[in-house]
């Protein structure tokens, strides 16, 4: 697969139990080390291409997640990491869980697991990179056609 740029990712802990969070961090540190592919973790949404969210959505963090998403430049990809981020998981029946990330954001890639394994997260990120390239192409075509018109 040819990647046109190094994707930077931003990670936000929705309302997860930390399990998936530390696995996301484990991806970035030795043994798994996605930084060798140019994937960098950034805390700034304005620098990020890929948005990794762990954990479900509750009333308190829904506006935070939406705001972070809106601050990211286009094109962007949202990856829901772990079963809680996919549909609420074991906490689905809790009174304060609205559901998975897709209740507030358009999710592109779902990574299953409780906790999601680093291999699965890396797989999700790799798919996100491919999708990012596609979205980029579509975006530039859109811009060209709007100029011509």
């Amino acid at each position: 697969m040819k990647v046109s740029k190094s994707p930077w990712l931003m990670h936000y802990d929705g309302s997860s139990c930390n399990g998936c969070d530390i696995e996301v961090l484990a991806c970035l540190t030795p043994v798994y080390d996605v930084e060798r592919f140019g994937v960098m973790n950034t805390g700034n949404p304005k620098h990020a291409d890929i948005f990794l969210i762990t954990g479900g959505i509750n009333a308190q963090n829904a506006p935070v997640v939406k705001q972070l998403y809106s601050q990211m430049p286009n094109p962007k990809v949202v990856v829901a990491v772990g079963v809680c981020a996919c549909n609420g998981g074991i906490f689905k029946e809790c009174y304060n869980i609205l559901g998975g990330v897709d209740t507030v954001l358009p999710v592109d890639i779902y990574v299953p697991g409780c906790a999601a394994r680093p291999e699965a997260i890396i797989d999700g990120v790799v798919r996100a990179v491919a999708l990012l390239d596609e979205k980029k192409k579509a975006l530039s075509q859109e811009q060209v056609s709007s100029k011509e018109a």
């Binding site: 802990d13 309302s15 997860s16 930390n18 399990g19 869980i97 409780c114």
Partner: protein, 359 residues
């Protein structure tokens, strides 16, 4: 005339793996007050006892926090076992102790890495996390999971470690001990680390006592209290003393946690030498009736599990008080009067676990 301003810190911040929001009231660069607002990770899992029966709830209890998942599961199981008068077989107790201490090592290594990251020592962060992966590999070998294990059940444990596996693990711990000694030298003697940690955020013994601090945060202020001395699991049969320091600054907290890793390795060696043969779990019959108050020592400090049962398969109430909740007043105290640049380090030195605190 100094200028007063309010700087929002979090919920999303590069140094925080988890969301907490602080409004920092600053006078120039000095923090006058820190006002926390929490609730970003609140799920309401204590109420799930009404929907999951007491056996199933072990899985929920484990997911209170992914870092000390084993101890959460164990704390809940021990509380229910006490209510039901179930005697856990000695081998299960020893296995629980070994897994507990492995959790402690992995949590402390994780914390050391995050601390190094907070003051910008990237390579130290990577080294700590590289060592942590060895512990996770051992967890995976013995339980099948890396962070969530599900090996606890009411009455005992589900998986066993055979002699061969224990011998392998002890070899790995020898390696970890050697590597940790090298890492300790950097953490405790490096000039840059010293200049960031020494005399920062001092919490006196008196303050620690009054604000009800727990765990390494309290022990680094000179109070020698360790819940493992209460004698749950196989701890009464092992020989150890609480590790303390009298200084109470960030350096002391780092020092105490590093020494606790060595202590945990020692405890695992003791447990591996003494582990008896036998059953893994006692039979559990009927439903619990009554209440119990269980205290365990987690990597971050004392965690309390209150369980009330009514004789049916659903419990009446489960209440968890987590160490970070007890340490927050102490943390806010140390934040007063510190420099803005020290805020991330001060927040990290209590080893905050927000998902435990808010559940």
């Amino acid at each position: 005339m100094s200028v007063r301003s309010v700087v929002p810190f979090g919920p999303q911040h590069p140094v925080l793996p988890e969301p907490i929001h602080l409004d920092l009231v600053l006078e120039d660069e000095k923090v006058i007050e820190a006002i926390p607002s929490i609730g970003f990770v609140h799920r309401g899992l204590e109420k799930l006892v009404e929907k999951k029966d007491f056996q199933e709830y072990v899985y929920v209890a484990e997911r209170i926090c992914g870092i000390c998942s084993f101890m959460h599961g164990m704390g809940y199981c021990s509380a229910v076992e006490n209510i039901m008068d179930v005697v856990v077989p000695p081998r299960a107790n020893y296995l629980r102790t070994i897994w507990c201490e492995m959790s402690r090592i992995h949590s402390h290594l994780l914390w050391l890495g995050l601390l190094a990251d907070a003051f910008g020592f990237e390579s130290l962060f990577m080294q700590s996390w590289r060592m942590r992966e060895k512990i996770l590999d051992m967890f995976e070998m013995s339980t099948g999971g890396r962070v969530i294990f599900s090996v606890n059940k009411v009455g005992g444990v589900r998986k066993d470690m055979d002699k061969e596996m224990l011998r392998e693990f002890l070899k790995v711990f020898d390696d970890i001990e050697q590597e940790l000694k090298v890492l300790t030298k950097t953490f405790l003697e490096d000039y840059a680390v010293n200049s960031r940690l020494r005399d920062v955020g001092v919490l006196t013994k008196q303050q620690a006592h009054e604000l009800g601090a727990v765990g390494p945060f309290m022990r680094s202020s000179g109070i020698a209290l360790d819940n493992r001395k209460l004698g749950y699991a196989a701890y009464p049969e092992l020989d150890f003393e609480p590790i303390t320091s009298d200084v109470g600054d960030c350096y002391a907290r780092c020092d105490v946690r590093i020494r606790e890793i060595f202590q945990s390795i020692d405890l695992i060696r003791q447990a591996a030498a003494k582990i008896p043969e036998g059953e893994l779990a006692a039979a559990v019959k009927g439903f619990p009736q009554g209440e119990h108050f269980m205290r365990v020592e987690q990597p971050r400090g004392e965690a309390i599990y209150y369980v009330k049962a009514n004789g049916t398969k659903f419990l009446d109430r489960v209440r968890v008080r987590t160490p970070t909740f007890a340490n927050l007043p102490g943390m806010l105290e140390t934040l007063k009067g510190c420099q803005l640049a020290d805020v991330p380090i001060l927040i990290l030195t209590i080893d905050p676990c927000i998902s435990c605190t808010e559940r």
